[in-house]
């Protein structure tokens, strides 16, 4: 009985009607009780939890203070053989994505604060995979290491990143992050890989929101406009994508491809 079902799933996936051959792993750690309970952070988490995903796609949501390297490894094992898209929103260093401290010898200290390493180059495998890392610095080293094997792609930042939040979801600053996170994460999850068009789309989003705070109605927001300008421009300038055009090899994502799946959930 499972053979016809498996055949049907493969057929539907190949036709682009469903995505049984793919998986999405959304990782949003909380590093302390204060940030976990903050209304602003709850909005951010919900935006990612509510992403529209193709029908049939395996989904793993790793959220909050329980996120650990073991959890991430478990999600990777559970999605072995599937084409994965990982979306991470949290703290990073040049070589790793970080989670809340585990209180053991494996914890590291970054800028005087303890963290655990939940993903680094040691965990990079041969699976085709995409990683959208909305975190500090991971583009400096982890990004290129992640794309070592063919068929992998990365979008992240090479500098410190900041998000200006508000408890009200309708605040101007929150609408910016919601727009960026949902469009980017949603687009990458639906396409199943990171393409040049995603980087271009993100740069256009930054341009649009910068224009809002510099020349549009957002400039009247005396409380936040300057700071939003600083951090949006900083993210735009430090944005980086791998593989770079010169690095493409056989098996790497075709920059002209874009698998769209109908019938998203």
């Amino acid at each position: 009985m499972t053979q016809p079902i498996g055949f049907l799933k493969r057929l539907l996936s190949n036709l682009g009607i469903a995505a049984f051959d793919r998986a999405a792993i959304i990782i949003v750690p909380a590093y302390d009780p204060a940030s976990q309970s903050s209304p602003a952070m709850r909005h951010v988490v919900n935006w990612l939890l509510r992403l529209r995903m193709p029908r049939g796609m395996a989904r793993h949501f790793l959220v909050g203070q329980r996120v650990s390297r073991a959890e991430v490894e478990g999600a990777l094992r559970a999605t072995e053989g599937l084409k994965r898209v990982k979306v991470f929103l949290g703290h990073g260093t040049r070589a790793a994505l970080l989670g809340p401290p585990q209180g053991n010898a494996d914890d590291i200290v970054s800028k005087g604060v303890s963290y655990s390493v939940i993903y680094n180059a040691e965990m990079v495998g041969p699976n085709p995979s995409a990683l959208f890392a909305y975190s500090c610095n991971s583009g400096k080293q982890l990004g290129s290491a992640f794309c070592g094997p063919p068929g992998r792609s990365f979008l992240g930042f090479e500098d410190e990143t900041f998000l200006l939040l508000a408890d009200e979801e309708e605040a101007e600053c929150m609408r910016v992050w919601k727009d960026i996170l949902q469009k980017m994460a949603g687009g990458i999850v639906n396409d199943g890989t990171i393409l040049p068009k995603h980087e271009e789309m993100l740069r256009k989003l930054y341009d649009r929101h910068l224009a809002f705070f510099q020349k549009g109605k957002g400039r009247r927001n005396r409380e936040d406009a300057l700071y939003m300008d600083l951090i949006l421009n900083s993210q735009r300038e430090s944005l980086c994508r791998y593989p770079r055009p010169d690095d493409r090899r056989d098996g790497d994502p075709d920059p002209h491809a874009g698998a769209r799946h109908r019938g998203a959930d």
Binding site: S35, A211, Q214, L230
Partner: protein
């Protein structure tokens, strides 16, 4: 308030009405946002006993975003030449009131107090016929410009100020670039320096005080928000307030340096300087 004016110490934005924010920006252009930053306007000192001249220059300078202090006597001018006075240019009328010393004497007696400011003499003595040759020559040797009070001379004075600012921007560039590269910034918030004899290579303020200026601008902005203690800035998984960020800047931490780097980037965009 018309475009081009600014209040000292306050951020302001171009007066032009907003574009439709839902429209796509021109994707062919590299994004360049000519954002006005909360820069203090350049300060100039004008010493002239003629009230009409002072009023006219005050109006013309202010309209061009220059912050003038116009005084009538040398004693008033001297009282303003305190250490770290911050004047970019000092204009001195040669012929002052009957009870006052001459403008060129005032210049030579107070060169040290003037610090690195550019000094220019202004005179109504057309064609310098009445000026004693030696006084004229002495000013020339001291690299003091002499600007006759002909029709439209305020435009010439404004041009002098703008040339000084442009030169300072050019000298700022290496400092901005080092900040953009994340290299250690020069010492922050330097103490006011005692007056030194003017040298052509060392204008007052920039670039020595550039990082301190960036820091002060950002600190003033952060601390003057309506809710500076509200924890809203997410970084490294931790929430910071505007006041927390200000503390980080004052302590010179990595986080503070990151913010100064962002401010430097804002300057680059505002001055349209290619990095």
């Amino acid at each position: 308030m018309s475009q081009g004016e600014n209040r000292a110490g306050e951020a302001f934005w171009p007066d032009k009405e907003s574009q439709d924010v839902t429209s796509e920006p021109d994707s062919d252009k590299r994004s360049q946002y000519y954002l006005r930053v909360p820069l203090p306007p350049p300060k100039v000192l004008v010493l002239d006993d003629d009230v009409d001249v002072r009023n006219s220059l005050n109006e013309d300078f202010t309209a061009r975003g220059i912050d003038p202090d116009c005084v009538a006597t040398t004693s008033e001018a001297k009282s303003l030449l305190t250490p770290g006075h911050g004047y970019k240019v000092i204009f001195v009328d040669i012929k002052l009131g009957e009870d006052d010393i001459s403008g060129d004497s005032f210049i030579f007696e107070n060169l040290k107090l003037m610090g690195g400011a550019k000094v220019a003499a202004i005179t109504a003595e057309f064609y310098f016929q009445d000026m004693e040759r030696e006084r004229y020559a002495r000013l020339i040797r001291a690299q003091v410009d002499i600007i006759p009070k002909r029709r439209g001379f305020s435009a010439k004075l404004i041009q002098v100020v703008e040339e000084v600012i442009e030169e300072e921007k050019r000298q700022m560039l290496p400092v901005i670039k080092s900040l953009m590269r994340g290299e250690p910034a020069p010492a922050l918030t330097p103490a006011p320096t005692p007056p030194t004899p003017p040298t052509p290579e060392q204008p007052s303020g920039f670039p020595k005080g550039f990082v301190a200026m960036l820091e002060q601008l950002l600190l003033d902005w952060l601390k003057s928000r309506t809710y500076p203690d509200k924890k809203r800035i997410l970084h490294g998984g931790k929430l910071y307030s505007y006041n927390d960020i200000a503390d980080e800047i004052e302590q010179g931490t990595e986080l503070g340096q990151a913010h100064l780097k962002m401010m430097a980037s804002l300057f680059m965009r505002t001055l349209s300087i290619d990095s």
